[in-house]
Symmetry: C2
Subunit: 585 residues, 2 copies
Amino acid sequence: MYRTNTCGELTLKNVGERVTLCGWLQRSRDLGGMTFIDLRDRYGITQLAFNMETNSELCEQARKLGREYVLQITGRVIERASKNTKIPTGEIEIEVEELNVLNEAKTPPFTIEDQSDGGDDLRMKYRYLDIRRAPVRRNLELRHRMAMLVRNYLSDRDFLEIETPMLIKSTPEGARDFVVPSRMNPGEFYALPQSPQQYKQLLMVAGMDRYFQIVRCFRDEDLRADRQPEFTQIDCEMSFVEQEDVLEMFEGLAKHLFKEVKGLEFGKFPRMSWHDAMRRYGSDKPDIRFGMEFVEINDIVKGKGFGLFDNAPLVVGICAKGCAEYTRKQIDALTDFVKRPQVGAGGLVWVKYNADGSLKSSVDKFYSQEDLQHIAEAMGADKGDLMLILCGEAMKTRVQLCALRLEMGNQLGLRNPDQYAPLWVVDFPLLEWDEETQRYYAMHHPFTAPKPEDEALLDDPSKWGDIRANAYDIVMNGVEVGGGSIRIHDRTLQNKMFHTLGFSDEQAYQQFGFLMDAFSYGAPPHAGLAFGFDRLCSLFGGADSIRDFIAFPKNNSGRDVMSGSPSPISDAQLEELQIATTVKQ
Amino acid sequence: MYRTNTCGELTLKNVGERVTLCGWLQRSRDLGGMTFIDLRDRYGITQLAFNMETNSELCEQARKLGREYVLQITGRVIERASKNTKIPTGEIEIEVEELNVLNEAKTPPFTIEDQSDGGDDLRMKYRYLDIRRAPVRRNLELRHRMAMLVRNYLSDRDFLEIETPMLIKSTPEGARDFVVPSRMNPGEFYALPQSPQQYKQLLMVAGMDRYFQIVRCFRDEDLRADRQPEFTQIDCEMSFVEQEDVLEMFEGLAKHLFKEVKGLEFGKFPRMSWHDAMRRYGSDKPDIRFGMEFVEINDIVKGKGFGLFDNAPLVVGICAKGCAEYTRKQIDALTDFVKRPQVGAGGLVWVKYNADGSLKSSVDKFYSQEDLQHIAEAMGADKGDLMLILCGEAMKTRVQLCALRLEMGNQLGLRNPDQYAPLWVVDFPLLEWDEETQRYYAMHHPFTAPKPEDEALLDDPSKWGDIRANAYDIVMNGVEVGGGSIRIHDRTLQNKMFHTLGFSDEQAYQQFGFLMDAFSYGAPPHAGLAFGFDRLCSLFGGADSIRDFIAFPKNNSGRDVMSGSPSPISDAQLEELQIATTVKQ
């Protein structure tokens, strides 16, 4: 062992001990008679003292060391003259007797400090330096800790972690697969799993009863801001359970994490149907850390001559508490916000409930003070509040108002990352209409069971949009951190579902035949849930981006700028695989 | 919840309770007045009793149920008339009051019993039924348990599990990569990792100090009997450690597993240099559960006129205790064994030490009784023993004799799967000469450090074969279960190593540039080790094949016969990826 102790553990109790430490040179201060070096490792920082008077040679040597040099030192623990109470080792320092440079270091391209001067691109290119920074290191430590907590929690409850294959069969349903050419089976390809969905269902058929896996998944999608082509799921499945059992089990897991990681205790998580979530928050993942719920005011505003409202299927607003003093400029900014193409509203109607009790609005022309008073009453507005109203086609308008609500939440500081508001969203629609391809798609996946009371609607295509699924999402602070469903375990119902999704018998069998076969040999009732582990970690870490909770993430073009991957491969490799690129040179 | 209890937990203490169980119909016996059903789940088997007299309707219904039907029953726990003491639930049965068929089942293609009538191919095709069998289920349970033990052990010792990328850069050194075409970067490819080697070294540069990961790895190799294209490693790396620290840490892990899983305690694991292992056992992974060590008898046998021995660089034998009574036929079989192409010896010389003290050999023409007596003395043979001797080029002969030694170990029952003999093999050669390409290859990988005392030999190409590495394998019962090395953390030495392996500066930089760059920013001394997790599980499970310790393995052509993967993909997929297959139709 190159060291007797780490840089994070020596305190006054160790004074007098002779120790050997290893680490990186964080910072060095030359005070004439003395030179101080902060030595850093994963566990902390310890101050090293070199005395020009007592050992000038060593001190001279120390003065030549650059940032991030790897050092091994031996010396005695002494009490510090000027103590630093901010760090655990701040009351001691090491009077260095021996110094060994284990490795030199070029000057790092950015500072290895909590607040670095490195931009995102530079930090990604030199990720191995970025990880030396305490905030990134702590994220990876948190991730490790959460994975351990999850595994022990589930294992204690008879869940078995079972590794499912990474080289699987490509299925065109769902997102785009990454594929892997097979050299031994020329012309054929494996796919990388988008999730172990089918395998975990097979494990239920296999009687494994309670399965989980913290598992890498892959989706070849055009990357949005915070998406990664490879990501990690806490994937779970249970047999002989009903929806209530699943919700209880994984609510228990979430509470366990909150308690262990954040010291927070929760009562029963609230539940909301998908329809309610859409109606009250315009989102299937509402942020319920704050209220500002939607109020539909069709009844109040229609028939007063304001054509926009009169013709709109939905007029809906929110009440921003204490915002009546918003200036023209602030309101214009909100109008611009909702008119951005990402939100897409036509405009914004506002009503101010002034401190003097008067009401002022952008549509005063059409509405009397009394009308505005009715609106204010409906929206629960008090003096000093600002009402913001959108109108148009119902679902679109709700989604637009959701964006505005979240923006107002941000502006009013109602979205505190240290506060957590978990929520179950249940009763999702089973099917989702796609305008482009003019067909229904499974909102979750083709194995999700309809609610038994809605099953009959499968026989009436005009009612397909109304069918509710036994599907559920777990939402925290406006982020979907997990979701799942009761699966179809009955082959007849599964066939019906495939037909609804436009699969012919042949297509269904070609894609899912082995699963359908499996189901004919005694499939138990089963259900499951998967958490997005990267997202869960970032949420617990109080950060918006998942990228800093992944050791080596890829950028938005799916590139690892550090290793330069992907990259061209040799002609010999292509030839062996019997493939060619068709890229025009 | 569909059940109140599992099928493995009810005993006499529960008599009188009303319970609901779910499971699969294992077996059904119709005794006229009574029908008994064995209901099976993951936790055990519980007997259900249906009484024709008290409830004929239910009993009739029960009689119609087929094997592997999924049932839910409710009834009262009663004491059994005829007890089965072999299973924990064998003293009770359930007097069934309600029966609910949750799912029907086609007759399975093989019996779901400990000893199945299904062949390997059938079992693989219906793997979800195979897993219902207790022996396979227990293997997966063991695997889960071992993974948990490993994780908790390492986590308790400050190791962090850090997930490294699966979509990485292809490097031609080592085995063949599986590659993944990048749609977003046309003409470019990711590779799947053969191991996280470079990333774990980067994590050491990043200061993460103690890393581990139970991680999927991929090798596109022609599959030998017990190889899988995807396999799992317990991958570990540590900083500021010497070889002794690594050996101690992972010996500790192995002992922990032995204790927890097998109830076995071990003293310090023996260590053997690679050269000793080759000389004494003809293998770098000797099975030391039994002796039968090699004895070199060049000095004794040469110059007696037997040309084969006279011309051989090495004459070496083993002594098989108590085998002097082997018949002509048995010895012929051994001769055939060593002459098989897989072993490749030219022939086998034997010497019998008969019970009456006389010596008889296949080369009596050349050797006197006294000569044979000398051989017997050298080989430590007693009356009743059989000596088996091979000759030829040294290394080849040793490897051949190793095969014979293991065969004799099998014949004599010396390789008990319930006995464990762990061993460290150390001081591996750094470089390995390849006849075909006429160059040296890294025996472990290009980052393995030479022993400091052998470093100077890198300057003399004629000595390259003599350089010893700071590399080590952990071997159990003749199986290499893990291996690792001290890494090169010095950039100059790493460059020298790349040159030794025939890389130009450009090639080295193109392949490993980002790692070399990283090393210039302060790389700590570091070392690591990886266990083959599939193999480790099979060893602890007392089985030879890893296949039954993998939930969904692939066959020797890399196919998953259950899902039919790999498979052709659509032209649309190929087009999007801008690749084409060049397979001749």
